[in-house]
């Protein structure tokens, strides 16, 4: 058989595999395909003749090594000094047998269940320990407010509160506007459009204002908390805290938690006002209601307890967002990918828990 590459050939004749031309990345591809057709020499006195090979690179050396093993460890003859050197460099025996990789076996059902249960219990224990640390942290701050890292807390208040105000107001304003428009279009058919102000006001203040604000804050600040702490963990800053005997919760979590607890009620109030304003825009334009009437209806319908419910929800969401964001940060694995996973997880699990807490509080407030 005879294979002609761009500048290299391989020829098998009387158990002598003769190669000619330079063996390089550019010339060896056809020879590799041809080599697949070769088999062991079955005891014949075979050899590889490379006298016609002026030079080779790593790809050429790899091909020669491959051919030699394919033919059962036959000799390579006629190598130039450069080819011999490349073979010496490339064909190194393994310095020590590497540790055998773990056998690729499928665990049985019992083992899978056991591993899963152990993992669940371990995670539960870690979470309980974390919650215990948070409670202890709150207790310590209540008893010794000066132990809180106030400079850090103020920075986080600005980041989670002031910096988020614009987007919170805009989204909630649009939410009120959409809500009023959708309901107005339906209720107008029944002559009930005067109740739009009541429904929009109640929906925004009891439910949508705090909820939308929490989802926005979770996306902004929850992920930022996780990414910040995760990066600190990757950079060994968390380990440094541990070795300095500083408590992670007090140092890393409590400033964020307190900042969010202080900022969330303010954000919820602004969200409520923006939502009502958005509804009012539709009420006064699309539904032709005077501003005084729309606002009067809203104020007459909404009591202090309704506002209080929204604020309580906001505080509960703040605890969830900060706790989950920081926990995910502390659970960060290795590398940049670990930080990304933590940030994503903080948002997903944060929003899920916000909805769960919302459901629980809504039922409780309804029962009260």
């Amino acid at each position: 058989m005879n294979v002609v590459a761009s500048a290299a050939t391989m020829e098998l004749e009387d158990f002598v595999l003769r190669l000619t031309g330079p063996l390089t990345l550019e010339t060896t591809a056809p020879l590799w395909r041809q080599a697949a057709l070769l088999g062991a020499t079955d005891g014949h006195d075979a050899r590889i003749d490379v006298e016609g090979v002026p030079r080779c690179d790593t790809a050429g050396a790899a091909l020669l090594i491959h051919l030699r093993r394919l033919l059962g460890g036959v000799a390579i003859e006629g190598a130039s000094e450069q080819v011999r050197f490349m073979l010496d460099v490339m064909d190194r025996p393994c310095p020590e047998p590497p540790t055998a990789p773990p056998a690729d076996r499928r665990p049985g059902m019992v083992e899978t269940l056991g591993t899963f249960a152990t993992q669940v219990l371990r995670n539960a224990a870690d979470t309980v320990e974390y919650i215990g640390g948070l409670i202890a942290g709150f207790g310590e701050i209540a008893l010794h407010p000066r132990r809180l890292r106030w400079p850090d807390t103020i920075v986080y208040m600005a980041r989670t509160g002031a910096d988020a105000l614009g987007i919170v107001v805009m989204i909630n304003g649009l939410m009120g506007l959409i809500l009023a428009f959708q309901m107005g279009a339906q209720m107008r058919q029944y002559g009930a459009d005067t109740y739009v102000a009541d429904v929009v006001g109640m929906s925004i203040i009891q439910e949508l204002g705090p909820l939308m604000t929490a989802i926005l804050v979770c996306g902004r600040s929850g992920s930022a908390f996780a990414a910040e702490i995760g990066t600190m963990k990757v950079n060994e800053e968390v380990a440094a805290l541990d070795t300095m005997g500083l408590e992670r919760t007090r140092f890393l979590v409590m400033p964020k938690m307190v900042a969010l607890l202080l900022m969330m009620p303010l954000l919820v109030v602004f969200a409520d006002l923006a939502g009502v304003f958005g509804g009012m825009v539709i009420g006064t334009t699309y539904l032709d209601q005077p501003i005084g009437v729309y606002l009067g209806n809203t104020i007459a319908r909404i009591g202090l307890w309704d506002v209080g419910q929204g604020l309580i929800k906001g505080e509960a969401y703040a605890i969830v967002i900060a706790a989950v964001g920081c926990l995910r940060g502390l659970q960060t694995g290795k590398g940049a990918q670990g930080v990304g996973v933590s940030a994503t997880s903080a948002v997903v699990s944060g929003i899920f828990l916000i909805i769960v807490v919302d459901a629980i509080l809504t039922v409780i407030f309804h029962a009260l």
Binding site: I76, V89, D91, E96, N235, A239, A240, T243
Partner: protein, 272 residues
Amino acid sequence: MPSETPPPPEAPAPPATVDAIVRVRGLRAAYGDVTILEDVSFDVKRGEVFVILGGSGCGKSTLLKHLIGLIEPAAGTIELDGTDLTASTPAERRELLRRFGVLFQSGALFSGMTLEQNVALPLQEFTPLPREAISRLAQLKLSLVDLDGYEAYRPDEISGGMQKRAGVARALALDPPIVFFDEPSAGLDPISAAELDQLILDLRDSLGTTMVIVTHELASIYAVADRCIVLDKARQTIVAEGHPATLRDESDDPYVRSFFNREPALAGRGGR
């Protein structure tokens, strides 16, 4: 003629490890089912520069993480200054560890703080010193590592070598009796590495601080080590202990000789 007084009874010889500030016995380090180190025992004497050596992946950093309490051993004990780290509660462990300094490979300075704030942090947390005294002390510690004038810089505004030195200043903030170093020369140019080596020796000589260093930089080892242990990945334990020059010249162990003489693990290449 003075009466001949009988010589005082000979005091019992102190145990060989009486001046050990770190004492490790039968340590087994493992990640899950994978054993990294087995039956590791050694002492670090007070005031010495002790180096933990070995090739990549042999468990040096894992051993250090055990010594500084970041990982609990699968078996064995670790005593730091007479207190058993492995038998202590988390609160006791925190109390114990705050008495020791650690320089991480990356420096691990808090990126949101200035260098002065980084160094001042342990002082703020664990001493009753007034703010002004803490600030002055932090500046002095930074001066000790030749970082005068950099107090207001943040870690990302200075070079890697300066970050390492600032890390040393923070590790020394509370005048610890022992400082642990994880690969202090890693990523540094030869001059910066030599400066850091000299700093380690100066601090040991001036403050009497015990230094435990994990590294595989031969130049640093010869420059600073009073004593070292060599870990071998294949045998998963200590394969030699002593002064590096002595081990280089006199060790019978082929791995130890290869390590100190920078010889490739393979005597030759070939098989052709």
